[in-house]
């Protein structure tokens, strides 16, 4: 077997779909989508969100599928095969971004684990008003506990990843994804049967016309569709590299995009009616709850709300179990982007690569575990870097030639894509992403005009430019060494 040659493959198509959905149904569906939908016009938010999924995310997932299935490699060798050796560094950027996201995502998995334990300890049922914030603050103020939870999360993830695609990721996803969806349906039914929940439905579904003409709402919806469906991350590319040459791309990509959106809507039906029904009993408005941010919504306010429900302990455990599964299966996908590239380049055994990556990333996770401000900074910096990764994927597919790429995609696929896909990946989707990226920068400068360019500030353009430049410099330094290892010959 040649260097980097991998025998691993998905056993069943349903296993591939479950793994893809597992990777995409993440914490963003639970803590960001409902907040954004509630803050940006309810039904009015859903319209641009779905347009974003159809016009940007699904075409981009198809593009990733073409590169992954066609090259049977990760982002670096895949980009090199379709875009030439000189473009391999774009794949290294994609891998680097996923690696840095993995570092702080692991911390969130640890938080979810601790809150399941709080549930079993009966903490939510003994809450008095204000306990949500107190518990969260005391948890964040205990570094040993945070690092312990982080370590437990890493042990679980490493154990699954070591088992490989077939016995690890596929098996776990086939079990966990249906369980996650089932849990969220149960929680949504519970939320919808609360007194006052109908107000939440109105909040979620009724379009507020003013938001339809508000550029901010459109840009938030497009950003959410990209982050949530995982388009452009490189995960779909990596998972597709374990497909056979005549396996489907188009239908699987569409299932991933629509499946992720379906789950986000279930999460909306779980969170928004709960907040509408129970926020008034806590003396806060629903808007205040949503404006408290991702962690504020989940770890402070929702826990307070669970305490007001009958069977609060059970509800709390089920919710944080769902949150944990969402984070876990997403982490597997993000980690696999890094693992696949290392195996491609060095030809090492999976066990060695997994242990090495897990060890290094655990150390990289520590600053985020200790400081929530650092974690938020990393989320801000590398979340936006994913938009650059998406643009790089378009560049590679355009270099390949969109007519040929479309032929590649239609070969073996159960549904065929037309010429419209070529227009979307050449013009509509990349231009939309450039607008979204430019808007994020502009909005930040308008919000923080004095500190925006200061690289030591946690939120700003300066910190982004500094950290992106560091990653870029590392990649440039390693560019020659990476190119020397390419192309990786087929066995």
């Amino acid at each position: 077997m040649n260097k980097g040659q991998s025998k691993e493959a998905w056993v069943k198509r349903s296993g591939f779909i479950a793994a893809m959905l597992g990777a995409m149904l993440g914490t963003g569906n639970l803590w960001r989508f409902p907040r954004m939908a509630a803050l940006y016009g309810g039904g009015s938010f859903l319209i641009p969100y779905i347009i974003g999924v159809l016009m940007i995310s699904i075409p981009l997932l198809i593009a990733e599928g073409i590169i992954g299935r066609g090259s049977s490699r990760g982002t670096i060798a895949g980009f090199s095969k379709y875009g030439g050796k000189q473009n391999a560094w774009l794949g290294a950027w994609s891998m680097g971004v996923n690696w840095l996201i993995l570092a702080y995502y692991a911390v969130i998995l640890g938080w979810a684990f601790r809150y399941i334990v709080y549930g079993f300890q009966g903490t939510f049922s003994t809450y008095i008003p204000g306990n949500g914030e107190a518990l969260w603050s005391s948890f964040l103020g205990n570094p040993l506990q945070l690092i312990g939870c982080l370590a437990i999360g890493w042990i679980i993830v490493t154990a699954i990843l070591i088992k490989g695609i077939k016995k690890g990721i596929e098996k776990v996803s086939l079990l966990m994804v249906p369980l996650l969806i089932f849990l969220m349906i149960i929680l949504a039914i519970r939320a919808l049967t609360l007194p006052g929940a109908l107000k939440g439905l109105e909040y979620f579904w009724l379009p507020k016309k003013e938001f339809l003409v508000k550029p901010e709402a459109w840009l938030q919806a497009f950003s959410q569709s990209l982050w949530s469906t995982g388009a452009g991350w490189g995960i779909y590319l990596t998972y597709s590299s374990y497909l056979k040459k005549d396996d489907d791309i188009n239908l699987n990509s569409s299932i991933t995009g629509f499946g992720d959106s379906s789950f986000a809507l279930i999460a909306g039906l779980c969170i928004i009616p709960t907040v509408a029904a129970l926020a008034p009993t806590l003396g806060v408005s629903a808007t205040e709850v949503y404006q408290s941010g991702n962690t504020g919504l989940i770890f402070i306010w929702l826990t307070e709300m669970f305490s007001k429900m009958p069977a609060s302990t059970l509800i709390g455990i089920l919710f944080f179990l769902a949150f944990f599964i969402a984070a876990l299966t997403s982490m597997l996908g993000i980690a696999e982007v890094v693992i696949r590239n290392f195996r491609d380049l060095f030809g090492w055994k999976r066990r060695k690569v997994v242990l090495l990556i897990a060890g290094i990333t655990f150390l990289l996770s520590l600053p985020s575990a200790i400081s929530v401000n650092f974690l938020n900074n990393q989320d801000w910096v590398w979340g936006l870097a994913l938009l650059i990764s998406a643009l790089m994927t378009f560049r590679i597919i355009i270099k390949r030639g969109t007519p040929d790429a479309r032929k590649d995609s239609n070969r073996g696929s159960d549904i065929q894509i037309g010429k419209w896909w070529e227009y979307l990946v050449k013009w509509v989707a990349p231009l939309s992403i450039i607008c979204v990226l430019g808007w994020w920068f502009l909005q930040t400068c308008l919000l923080y005009p004095k500190t925006c360019w200061n690289p030591t500030e946690f939120y700003g353009v300066g910190t982004i430019l500094l950290q992106w430049s560091i990653l870029l410099l590392i990649i440039i330094a390693l560019k020659g060494k990476i190119e020397k290892r390419l192309p990786i010959k087929e066995g």
């Binding site: 349903s14 779909i17 859903l46 439905l201 009724l206 809507l265 549904i415």
Partner: protein, 36 residues
């Protein structure tokens, strides 16, 4: 609650319906492949 709510309800049912339809297509294709 006005008729406006039908917009959100419609989008939700559309997305769920398309997802289930696509999943059905994939499962049928998987079965066909197995028996061909």
């Amino acid at each position: 609650m006005g008729f406006g709510i039908l917009v959100g309800l419609g989008i939700t049912l559309f997305v769920w319906g398309v997802t289930l339809y696509l999943l059905k297509l994939a499962l049928e294709a998987e079965k066909k492949k197995k028996f061909s």
